[in-house]
Structures are given as structure tokens and as C-alpha cells.
Symmetry: C2
Subunit: 311 residues, 2 copies
């Protein structure tokens, strides 16, 4: 549990940690959300299976996904790219071609950054989004009886990664979901518009970058209520089931890097959402976590969540 230990130390060491803990921090004075996510070679990607262009797109996408989970409109990014000495110029061109493509798609501008040497390729992106809806987000806002919703299928990215690591190339759609995840910006904007119209000011939401199971655990812990999940309602792609008939359930819950959204809303709000894009996977119960017999229910979740340190 080294990562959690580190995070606790950070919270305890900083005099003011009030802006930490969610996918993005909201800077009220400027009406912006900021986030920073880093991809490290051989931790988050492998250059044998990821092109520079895909890496450029993905490094931006994972940050835009954080903005999506804050219902923020993506505006600007800065990029720090660290490269081994012998990197050829084609790599830089291809990387920025990928950055440019995704930035054009979401109308985002590159506002500088940094270029340094390093042993491994490291990409750190900071993204800035504008708050355009009067809805506050947090991992603490779920309430009993709300519907638990996801924006799409899970497990595909992890399935794609597994195929790549096995040298198998037979299923392009899974591999593509791993290499070129698509941030759920339009879904976020659609959801926010409905909430604003219905004058809902608070939303419990996060992205599922560290796994659907991890996100369920964190939203549940955030509000203190047990989440009742109907596993058979979690959308799963037929490609994933066909390619991994034995293991797909595990990939769905714990695979990570799907960059979908998980949130909870009242039934009446869910009814107003487009059912081709938003899927009900369960309901927030009125059972307090603190009343559960098994106080260790979180252990499995913590154990299986995406590990940045490969513990």
C-alpha cells in the first residue's frame, strides 16, 4: 500500500491540503479546474507497443478525462517531455503530431511546457479547464437511493494491454481503447447541461482511470454509504467477452485505464439522460459503511486498484 502511504504523508505534510483529493482542483478565483498527470515509460506505456503519436494523444487524453470528471471545458495544456539523449527527431515530431490531433479535436491550446533529458521517456501534462456549469463536483456527494451510472464499457483497455503484452494483434478495437482512450468530454457536457437545467448543484463523480472497482470504492467511501452494484448491468463489449471469456470480469472491475466516468444521480435525473451513452449499474444503498460487519470490505478494492508503483 505504498501509494496510499505516500498520499497520506503528503496530506499531513502540506500545511494546506484542501485542494487535494479529487481528479482536479477547482481554483475559484479564476473559475478554472487544474489537473496534472504523468505517464512514465515502462510504468504506463511500453515504446515497443506504443508509437510516439499514440503516446502524445494519450498523455493529453488522460488529463482531459480528469477535466471531464469535473464537468470542465478543456482549454489549455502545458506539456513537459523528458527524453533520453539518443531520441531521434522523428519521435518528437510524431509525439507532437499526436498532441496536436487531440488538442484540435477538443479545441485545446498548448500553452508551453518543458523539454529535458532523462533515462526513460516521461510525459507530464497539466490541463486547465473552465467551469461553465453551475455544478460542483466531489467524491463525497453521493446520497442513498441515487442511481450509479457509467458512461461506457469497462475492461477493454486492460484487455488491449494484455493482447499487446502477449504480442497478439488480433483485436484492434481493444488495443485501440488502450492506446487511444477517448476522454468523455461530450458526455460530461451533456450530463452537466441536464443537471444545470434541473438545478442540481452537486454531483459525485470521478473517472475510472484506476479501474471501475477503484472508482466505486472511492465514491462509496467518499459518502460513507455502501454501493449496491448489479454486476450484470455493467456494460461489457462483446470483443472483450469473446477475447477473454474466462477473465473478462476481472478486467472489467480492476483493469483500469478505461477513462470512462462513474457518477451517481437521482433516478429522475437518470431518466433524462441518453440511454445509449449512460448506463445504470447499481444504486447507492442506505446502509452506512461504518455499520457493516466486515470493516475490511475496502481491502480487496485497495489491493486490486491500479498500482503506479507495481507493489
Amino acid at each position: 500500500m505504498k501509494e496510499l502511504e505516500y498520499l497520506e504523508i503528503i496530506n499531513n505534510t502540506l500545511g494546506d491540503s484542501s485542494l487535494l483529493g479529487d481528479d482536479c482542483a477547482f481554483l475559484q478565483e479564476f473559475n478554472i479546474y487544474v489537473t496534472q498527470d504523468t505517464l512514465v515509460e515502462n510504468v504506463h506505456f511500453d515504446l515497443d507497443t506504443t508509437t510516439a503519436c499514440e503516446l502524445g494523444q494519450k498523455a493529453v487524453s488522460v488529463n482531459l478525462s480528469d477535466l471531464a470528471s469535473s464537468l470542465a471545458k478543456p482549454m489549455y495544456i502545458t506539456i513537459s517531455l523528458s527524453l533520453p539523449k539518443n531520441t531521434n527527431t522523428d519521435f518528437v515530431r510524431d509525439f507532437y503530431t499526436g498532441v496536436n490531433a487531440i488538442c484540435n479535436e477538443y479545441n485545446v491550446k498548448v500553452a508551453g511546457g518543458d523539454l529535458t533529458g532523462s533515462k526513460e521517456v516521461v510525459v507530464s501534462v497539466c490541463a486547465i479547464g473552465k467551469k461553465i456549469f453551475d455544478v460542483n463536483v466531489s467524491r463525497h456527494y453521493s446520497k442513498p437511493d441515487e442511481v450509479i451510472v457509467v458512461t461506457g464499457t469497462h475492461g477493454d483497455s486492460a484487455g488491449g494491454l494484455r493482447l499487446l503484452s502477449q504480442g497478439r494483434r488480433e483485436n484492434d478495437s481493444l488495443i485501440k481503447k488502450h492506446l487511444l482512450p477517448s476522454p468523455k468530454i461530450s458526455e460530461a457536457m451533456e450530463l452537466a447541461a441536464v443537471l444545470q437545467k434541473e438545478q442540481i448543484k452537486k454531483l459525485a463523480i470521478m473517472d475510472t482511470s484506476d479501474g471501475l472497482g477503484d472508482a466505486i470504492y472511492k465514491l462509496s467511501k467518499g459518502c460513507g454509504y455502501v454501493f449496491d452494484i448489479n454486476y450484470e448491468n455493467i456494460p461489457v463489449s462483446s470483443e472483450l467477452k469473446r477475447t477473454f471469456p474466462e477473465e473478462y470480469k476481472d478486467l472489467v472491475m480492476w483493469g483500469g485505464e478505461d477513462f470512462e466516468l462513474l457518477f451517481t444521480v437521482e433516478e429522475s435525473i437518470f431518466d433524462k439522460l441518453d440511454k445509449r451513452k449512460f448506463f445504470r449499474i447499481g444504486r447507492v444503498s442506505d446502509k452506512k459503511i461504518s455499520d457493516c460487519e466486515n470493516q475490511d470490505f475496502g481491502a480487496e478494492f485497495q489491493e486490486k486498484s491500479f498500482k503506479h508503483f507495481g507493489e
Copy 2:
């Protein structure tokens, strides 16, 4: 010249590179400046000679220095810290103790970030500052006859680094300037207040993080006029002269990492500045670079500037 090649590729690949090129990008819509700088183990620091606490402070300081050179008031940072698997928790605590110290000193809040695994320690900080003065900055604004000004001594940081690499600890002040550089925020605010009072709307300025020579070269190239430097007027600490009597001149010009400010202003403005903090080192000539016989005058500057890729 790999770094310059890379930068040219980035500019040519991005559809819109209008926000690149200065120490910070100004995001007009939000009235903020943003910058991102990364420190990589064994490129920018050595953990044998740098403590985690010093690293935390320095990673923030180098970004605040960029905000200083934009005359921006530092407000928020995000931090991405990449750590090898076996890093102990004391390192994380000490690192954030350093971050906390420098943030408290400049009233800056930590607004999130990221924690990942890696082979080497990599710290990437994004800093956000507020534009509080009605003065625009750029590397292109110098005009003939303006006075060239620096905020302090140069070469000390490089001298400190040389002492550390030789295992010498006899001069604490040089080593301290290397390990704990101090961003010139108060000098920047003082300068900006004078400019605003005198209704000067444009300032050519940058920090000297990549070396005083590099900064002189860039401001000169930015405006197209030759900079006449009086080398004997460049402030040099007595410690540096005493410790490196033979080599100090080279360290002053090309050492880098002093994080002072270099700017040009009209004589009448310079007269209003505090002479204990601002030092005149030359004058912008009316000679166009393009009229110089030796068109290669920049080669030495490019050759000697701080090399992130150790070319």
C-alpha cells in the same frame, strides 16, 4: 544543438504555437500566467548531494522564477512526483516539507498533482500566477539605448554545483545558491510597480535559469539589436572570485541556474529602481544584429547555454 532542433519541430508541428516561447504563457481569458518545469535526477540534480527537502524547494522555486520573469504573482502549483519503487516514505515527507516551506514563503497553494513510479526521480511542477500589473512581458521588447539590468550575482549556483561534484563543502553560500535558489518575486513586483506608475506597458525580460549568456543572447535575438555588455559591471560575489579565481568569469556567463532576472528599461526607469537590488550591466545598442559582419555571433552563446540533453 538537439534541443533547438526539437523546439523547432514542436513549433512547426503544433497548429497553434502562439503561446510558446516565453518563460510563461499568458492566458488572457483567465488573466493568469502558466509555466511548467521539470527536474530529472542525474540531469538537474544528484541525490548524493541534494536532499529531498532541497529538491522539493528547488522544484517549486524554478517555476516561481518563471512567474517572476512574467511579473506575475504566484498563486498555485501542481506537482507530479515520479519515484523509484524502493523510495522510502521519509523521502516523500522531506520532499513535501521542502515544498511546503517554499509555498508558505510565497503564499502559494498546492492544487494537486500526481504520484507515479519511475526508474529515476522526476519532479514536474506547473505554476499559475496572476497578472496584477498592467505590463506585458516578452523577449522581443528591448529597444536601442535601453539599459540592460540584472537582479543579482551570477555564477554562484554553478560554482556551488562544481564544489558539490568535487566533494568540497568549504563554501556554504555557493552551495546554498545552487541547492536553494531564491526566485526573484519581490524584485519582480518592485520593478512592475515602478513600470506601472510610469505607465510603461511593455517589458523585455526573462530569468537567467539557462545562464546569463543565454539570456543575453535570447533578449538580443528577440529584439534584433546587439547588446553591449560591460563585463566588469556584472555583479559577482566575492565568494565566487575567491573560490574559483581562474574560472569565475566563465561560470558567471555560462554557469546557469542562478534564477536571477535580466531585463532592459529606459534609463529614466532604471534611475527609479533600488540600486542595491538592480544592477546595470550594459546597454542595448542601435546596431542591428542583421548588419553585423559576424552573423555567427550567436554560435558561442548557443554552444555554451545550459544543455538539458548534455550534448
